[in-house]
Amino acid sequence: MRTRTLVKVPATARRGEVVEIKVLVSHPMETGFRRDRTGGAIPVDIIRRFECRYDGDTVFAADFHPAVAANPFLAFTTVATTSGTITFEWVGDNGFAHRESAEIQVE
């Protein structure tokens, strides 16, 4: 599939509020342990790294191993500091790279 993502960031927040962020990305997270119908090993093909930046600063990151479920889901938090852009980046095997962003308004 073309890479699809679902991202949930509150549109507005109070300064200093801890907000929850949820992200879901389409990816098979092929473990490298499976075999195809002819018995051949299916090579590993996973997302290796996820990063969330808030106004340019990395506020959360994750390193994935093959035991992260297909179509990786993450829910984490960040402190609302300033109005701006939150970006999400997934990087993996075989040149996989995908970026997404969301705006947050902080009062």
Partner: protein, 257 residues
């Protein structure tokens, strides 16, 4: 202990009155027997991986394709209006083939005849994505009523095959889904077997799949003959299951273990 014994042990428990399908109003979706964690995964659109397919279907809906270079949206406009309720009446009687047609087959017909696109395989990504998107427009609506008299003979044929003992285990669908829902089979709760959430995101598949795929899985488990994807026998079974579930709420995209 053999496989036969395993199944027998699971099923030869007090045979509850040899009941037929649960009465309308008394039926429970597979959703209700899932753990709270899995229900939460289905309920939260950002956590439900099936929504990734819906999203992809939405993009396909407005993408021009095929020799005609037309998008679904060019003819059908806003899917939220034009496709609302469409999944609730599929499988529907198709006068042209004088047989029931499932939603994905109806979509495929538009792809091939209206868009002039190359035919797609039943479990192909685009077909699943479009079907998930179209069916999602009916989420929350009641299935049915499937009262077209022309559909009736096919529903009856589907009912007969649902009750037919088949395969090496000599089991019928009804043995599990009418007589023993709620029982555990090797740790899994046997659901009533309602087609309310399709296409579903199935954890076992780690992807989205069709009702056909689900039915073929159950048939393989019974060690019965497994028809090819899209075979008329499967559409008849699907027509019966849909009729049997009439009035139940559409959940697409559902999550199942």
């Amino acid at each position: 202990m053999s496989w036969r014994h395993g199944l027998a042990a699971a099923l030869v428990l007090p045979i509850a009155a040899l009941a037929d399908a649960p009465a309308p109003g008394d039926r429970r979706s597979g959703y209700e027997t899932m753990s709270p964690a899995l229900r939460a995964m289905q309920d939260d659109d950002v956590a439900n991986p099936g929504m990734l397919w819906v999203l992809d279907g939405e993009a396909l809906w407005s993408t021009r394709a095929g020799a005609a270079d037309r998008a679904c949206a060019d003819c059908h406009g806003d899917a939220a209006e034009s496709m609302r309720g469409v999944a609730a009446r599929h499988p529907t009687f198709d006068p042209r083939s004088a047989a029931p047609i499932a939603l994905d087959q109806r979509i495929e017909r538009c792809r091939v005849e209206q868009q002039g696109a190359a035919p797609s395989a039943p479990e192909s990504h685009d077909r699943l994505a479009l079907t998930a998107f179209v069916a999602h427009q009916s989420r929350g609506l009641a299935l049915g009523p499937f009262d077209d008299p022309r559909l009736r003979p096919f529903v009856d044929a589907g009912r007969a095959s649902f009750h037919q003992r088949q395969g090496q285990l000599d089991l019928s669908c009804a043995d599990c889904h009418d007589r023993h829902p709620g029982r555990r089979l090797a740790g899994n709760v046997i659901p009533e077997g309602h087609p309310t959430g399709y296409p579903i995101y199935r954890l076992e598949w780690q992807t989205v799949g069709s009702l056909d795929r689900r039915l073929r899985g159950c048939l393989a488990g019974m060690r019965a003959t497994v028809p090819a994807p899209g075979a008329p026998e499967l559409t008849e079974l699907a027509a019966y299951l849909a009729w049997r579930a009439r009035g139940m709420t559409i959940e697409t995209p559902a999550v199942r273990p």
